[in-house]
Point group: C2
Chain length 324, copies 2
């Protein structure tokens, strides 16, 4: 059973919702260690009538803080302690809903990259119709080289195998047209490298293909991927808002019939149901949950981390990259 | 009255829907000149019982063709003829629903940039709630320098004044976080330049803010802007599809009550209602309509082009850039 360290102090709803998520995960048989203020954590656990191992951490890196500086200057920050448990083999992975920058910095500095990995990437799993779609990088590296994108293709394929359960995921390169000659010099060179990589490369993919099922993995730099992620969220939110507004004119009986269906749609498209992003390419599993995570979102993130640990995401990424 | 040249041969539904749009525009009092195969255009006009001026063009640049090569090697292509009418002052602007690349190439090569403009940009007007939002560049320049982004900010502000009717549009820089230090070196330098520009610069804007009304103009490079545009389209389409699917389980009477509202939402978010993108920074107005434009979409695009011509978009961009 793979143990997962959980940053109890990170996130808008920390520590209350984080502890609630941990308790729910433990009830499902997961092996969780809470990392944070020991007194607070134990008090909250007592409210649930639960006992979980707690590793004390006296500090927190806030959302607005400089992440690199925070990791260097706060060795006792909860997210740094989480990463250290992974580094020392006391946990197979960690989950944090705190500052994404701090979690990335702690993971990179403390856990370190797996052999052969040039850049760790943030992989987000979109709950698209049919199979989910893995997009990477969604924010770890704002500026990349073509070879980094080729590695992201290989790492993303492993993420889709492990988390989406696909045998030979189709990997696409995010671009502004389907033809090979499209895009920046970055994409033109990466295209050739992705063709040569040990993956099922299906060519260029456009932003509108995200939900169209044309690829299981979409590769891009961390700036563009972050824009794609947030634009999709914003557009989904916008359309649901428009629909709610349009339907508000309905008679009460019709409205009551419709609302449950629309709530299901909202749930399908919200960040809760995705569970979090993965920092992939490290010597350990790292899942970064949404800052606004509820207990349910934390449970989902912990489930993802456990799956990654049990299915040896780390070892598979390293061996696949070595095959290039 | 500003005359607008219309490429009758470009687009998936050309020439039939294009001519239909021209006839509708003429009925509203617009001054249109059709550019395309004279015999075909006159036949279609006769079907409508309409007479409009037609300028003959014997060739077409197809969607799959190399745009630059097409413009060089097909001087009698309809979109090239359109641009030439603008260059020679016989039209104030042109509209094409054909290849975006060909329209951009024809406009740049034949009409040319206005004085002081380093790069023409493609500006798309999103029908966001409240006021529409102008995003540029959505595809003309995949790689740009910080100073180009600063110019896009000025040009985008003029587009929002002319087409959205705003007095002091708020201009934002697309980035992956709100803080000034976020983004690539491109954004970091552009931020300072935009602060110094003669516009109402409101700082960094994220993809999720597109529909949130935080800015009236969003500035970015043509690669990222194109990804944003297509991702928003794809996500909107996805959510509407999910909603339709969820609602399909409703009883017939409820469903009948709901569908008109959802159709309104679909209409609000589809490319039809936006009318097209503007190539801004040229010595003439150029509106590029969606390839799948219907007659109604063409009418909207023609209306935009006329507004741009009548409100002197070209002169205002040049004088505003000169004020930098």
């Amino acid at each position: 059973m793979a143990r997962i360290a959980l940053d109890a102090m990170g996130g808008d709803n920390a520590p209350r919702e984080i502890v609630a998520g941990a308790v729910a995960a433990a009830e499902e048989g997961m092996d969780i260690v809470l990392v944070g203020d020991e007194v607070i954590c134990k008090d909250l656990l007592a409210e649930h009538g639960a006992t979980l191992p707690v590793v004390h951490a006296s500090e927190v890196i806030g959302m607005g803080e400089d992440a690199g500086k925070g990791v260097r200057e706060k060795p006792d920050a909860s997210v740094v302690r989480c990463a250290r448990l992974v580094r020392h083999g006391e946990a197979a992975g960690f989950v944090s809903a705190g500052s994404t920058g701090a979690a990335m910095a702690a993971a990179s500095v403390v856990i370190g990259r797996a052999r052969g990995v040039q850049r760790a990437a943030l992989a987000t799993i979109f709950p698209t119709p049919g199979n989910a779609t893995v997009v990477l990088d969604t924010g770890a590296n704002t500026e990349v080289k073509p070879d980094h994108l080729a590695q992201f293709g290989v790492m993303g394929a492993v993420v889709a195998e492990v988390y989406v359960g696909l045998d030979t995921p189709r990997v696409g390169l995010l671009n502004i047209g389907e033809e090979q000659a499209k895009g920046r010099s970055l994409e033109k060179t990466a295209f050739t490298m992705l063709e040569a990589a040990p993956i099922n490369f299906v060519g260029n993919i456009e932003g509108r293909d995200l939900a169209a099922g044309k690829a299981d993995v979409i590769v891009t730099d961390g700036f563009t991927g972050n824009v794609l992620l947030k634009t999709a969220e914003g557009a989904a939110f916008w359309v649901i808002g428009l629909a709610m507004e349009a339907l508000a004119t309905l008679e009460q009986t019709h409205l009551e019939a419709v609302l449950p269906a629309l709530r299901r749609v909202r749930h399908l498209t919200d960040s809760e149901s995705t569970g979090g992003a993965h920092l992939v390419g490290l010597k350990g599993v790292a899942v970064i949950a949404h800052g606004s995570s509820s207990g349910t979102a934390i449970l989902n993130a912990l489930t993802l981390a456990r799956t990654g640990a049990e299915q040896d995401l780390v070892g598979r990424v390293a061996s696949r990259l070595a095959a290039r």
